[in-house]
């Protein structure tokens, strides 16, 4: 273990490298990569690494980047890629394919605004578009998360009880290009945490068609198995947290992360780096005598419904902070979680930082003030911060 300064992109690339090397005792490591701002430093890093029994294919599109990963993973290798925004949209068909093939591919996705018009800054709408692709989804809050949750993604995705791909979101530039101090594990530690992948349904030399025709009854069964595997993620994630702590001496983030919620009357629910800002705003509000708290949603798929409801019990007013907009509906996090607040609670949706607007503590203090004064919840509000 060592302490190093690095960007979130480098942390992700380094985590993939360590995980890739850890499978040298298995069938190896494979990656298909294609550049898109602001993900490029991650794959550039990966392309410079010497990974024993590993290979990185420089492909011609995101669609093929995922297809190459599918080929590697189908052959039983540990597979990794990274993308962002319109790249994810272009990749989408094969993102679904990876999910339905039940391949434990890991992808880092830098959350960036979908275009046109073009904007390279943070917005969660790109990966949220993929929430139904049958992947595990996690959203990072800092650079350490890129290291720790990347390794968690491999561990959980490859667990024989799960075998579902995992996507790790991080906020464009706020994290991707920002240098922070992180704890970097040794290869020997990663080797202990990530045993060689043994994919039970890998393509061998036996006659078999993978991914062919499914009639309705078979689709019903396959979807049922997929949903059941997703439901097991909570248990396997918790076990992986324990194992992580035993090996690395620190504990990766829980599916939902509360802050000063115990005696709170009012809560801010958010994902990604907004959660850090929310904690600062909560402290500020508390100084003014408002009993505020914050809840970060780290795991978005499977959706931690039970944990969210338990954390929000007793809260009277809830602001759900989205960095995304589903036009014609509102914030996506709000849409998914508004029913989990207590029945008589006031739940208001605020969308802040769309297109990478810089969400600062004073913006969230203003949200708290607004929420505290509301008579009833209204339509979702797009709060301009830029």
């Amino acid at each position: 273990m060592s302490t190093q300064l690095m960007t979130a992109n480098h942390a992700a690339g380094l985590a993939a490298t360590l995980a890739g090397r850890a499978n040298r005792r298995g069938r190896g490591f494979g990656s298909g990569v294609y550049p898109i701002t602001p993900q490029t430093e991650c794959i550039e890093f990966l392309c410079k690494q010497d990974i024993e029994k590993g290979h990185v294919v420089r492909v011609e599109s995101e669609h093929s980047a995922m297809a190459v990963c599918i080929g590697f993973s189908m052959a039983g290798l540990r597979a990794y890629t990274a993308s962002s925004s319109n790249g994810l949209a272009y990749m989408t068909e094969n993102v679904f394919a990876a999910g339905f093939y039940r391949l434990p591919i890991v992808m880092m996705a830098v959350n960036r605004t979908m275009g046109p018009p073009w904007n390279i800054w943070v917005d969660h709408g790109d990966t949220l578009m993929l929430r139904d692709a049958g992947w595990i989804q996690l959203y990072c809050e800092d650079n350490q998360d890129l290291m720790d949750l990347s390794l968690m993604c491999f561990r959980v995705a490859e667990d024989p009880r799960i075998l579902v791909p995992a996507m790790l979101g991080q906020d464009a530039f706020v994290l991707s290009h920002t240098i922070m101090q992180i704890e970097v594990p040794d290869q020997a530690q990663v080797d202990r945490f990530l045993p060689p992948l043994d994919l039970p349904h890998r393509l061998t030399d036996q006659p078999r068609t993978v991914g062919g025709l499914d009639f309705p009854h078979e689709i019903e069964q396959h979807r049922e198995h997929h949903a059941a595997a997703m439901n097991r993620v909570f248990e396997v994630y918790a076990e992986a947290q324990d194992a992580f702590e035993a090996v690395f001496g620190r504990r990766p983030a829980d599916p939902v992360v509360p802050y000063r919620l115990d005696d709170a009357e009012l809560a801010l629910v958010s994902m990604g780096t907004t959660a850090s800002t929310a904690r600062a705003a909560v402290d500020e509000a508390r100084r003014k005598g408002i009993r505020a708290g914050s809840l970060r949603v780290n795991l978005f798929r499977p959706f931690p419904e039970r944990q969210l409801a338990a954390q929000l019990a007793g809260i009277e007013r809830v602001a759900i902070l989205d960095r995304d907009l589903s036009p014609g509906m509102g914030g996506i996090l709000w849409g998914e979680s508004r029913a989990l607040a207590p029945r008589d609670a006031l739940v208001q949706n605020y969308m802040l930082g769309l297109g990478g607007g810089d969400v600062r503590p004073e913006h969230l203090v203003a949200v708290i003030d607004d929420l505290a004064g509301l008579e009833r919840a209204g339509a979702p509000i797009i709060q301009e911060v830029a």
Binding site: S61, S64, I70, M74, T204, D214
Partner: protein
């Protein structure tokens, strides 16, 4: 399958214990793809293989889960992704020291159209893949729409008055990538076809085979006439049977007679060609142009054997 066949080209000892395309498949009678699979089975013999098949009749024919009409491991890929998924499988075999030969088996839609960028990139990277395109000149399992492999004049469900442009030169396109081997083969010329299958199975690097594949359903022709139609396509010069080594050496494998009568019979035997919608003269003129180009390429290939003069002067000092 296990009887000696094809005039002794395929011997019992070389055959696979079962064909790659097994009974129970759902191909139409007279499907050229089915014949292609029999050739490939014999050529592959006992070698370990993995095959990627994108969306096309070739994957529908496998039948529904959990059955498989294929006697080989098959990965059913998304439409545009055969060459990319095969890249992963092929590199995985290399990393693990396995002798597995990775093949793609794709239709013309997955090759000429939606899969073209993926295919081109895999060829550019010189992945160790044998890519086989069975070309029925139509989107078959969606009911017969035009592709960029549909020939001039052919009526399809999306070209109701006949296609107004010709098909792409796929072997030329692939050869231009400088790959180890790009060839077209005729299922009506088994000696040449088997030689090509076996030759390119043994090569390393990216290899491409083009197979004109009769489709009685889409061509509106008699199922029993497929092989005869191929003979006519070859003899008339419409379908050149050639091979290109390393993107530079072109060899013409079957000399056509350029019979106008054969060309007329080829068109007349397929109801997809409506007499009032095509001009045989225009088709014959295209054949002439194409063959002039092929002859120049083949002649130039002979000149490749002659050494070039040494580069003049000293390398530039930097």
């Amino acid at each position: 399958m296990n009887e000696p066949a094809l005039g002794g080209i395929a011997q019992r000892a070389q055959d696979r214990p079962e064909p790659i395309l097994r009974p129970g498949n759902t191909n139409c009678g007279g499907c050229g793809m089915s014949i292609g699979w029999q050739f490939l089975s014999r050529a592959v013999a006992h070698e370990p293989i993995q095959i990627v098949i994108p969306a096309c009749c070739g994957i529908v024919t496998a039948g529904p889960y959990p059955y498989s009409a294929y006697g080989a491991p098959i990965l059913a890929s998304t439409f545009a992704s055969a060459a990319a998924m095969a890249t992963g499988l092929s590199q995985a075999a290399r990393l693990n020291g396995e002798a597995t030969r990775v093949l793609c088996w794709a239709g013309d839609g997955g090759t000429y159209d939606i899969g073209m960028a993926t295919l081109s990139a895999a060829a550019e990277r010189n992945e160790n893949i044998l890519y086989i395109c069975y070309d029925n000149e139509i989107y078959g399992n969606t009911g017969g729409q035009r592709s960029s492999a549909t020939p001039l004049g052919a009526v399809t469900t999306t070209t109701p008055i006949g296609k107004e442009v010709g098909k792409k030169d796929i072997v030329g396109i692939m050869a231009a990538h400088g790959i180890a081997y790009a060839a077209s083969l005729s299922l009506a010329h088994p000696d040449d076809a088997m030689r090509k299958f076996r030759h390119c199975l043994d090569l390393e690097g990216f290899r491409f085979l083009h197979i004109l594949s009769p489709c009685p359903t889409g061509w509106k022709s008699e199922p029993a006439d497929g092989v005869q139609l191929l003979r006519l396509a070859v003899s008339s010069g419409l379908y050149p049977v050639i091979e290109v080594f390393d993107g530079e050496r072109t060899v013409i494998n079957v000399e056509p007679s350029f019979s106008y009568e054969d060309l007329a019979t080829y068109f007349a035997a397929q109801a997809r060609f409506k007499r009032e919608r095509y001009s045989l003269e225009a088709v014959a003129a295209r054949i002439q142009r194409n063959w002039r180009r092929l002859r120049v390429q083949a002649a130039a290939s002979a000149a490749l054997a002659e050494p070039l003069p040494e580069p003049a002067g000293a390398p530039l000092a930097v």
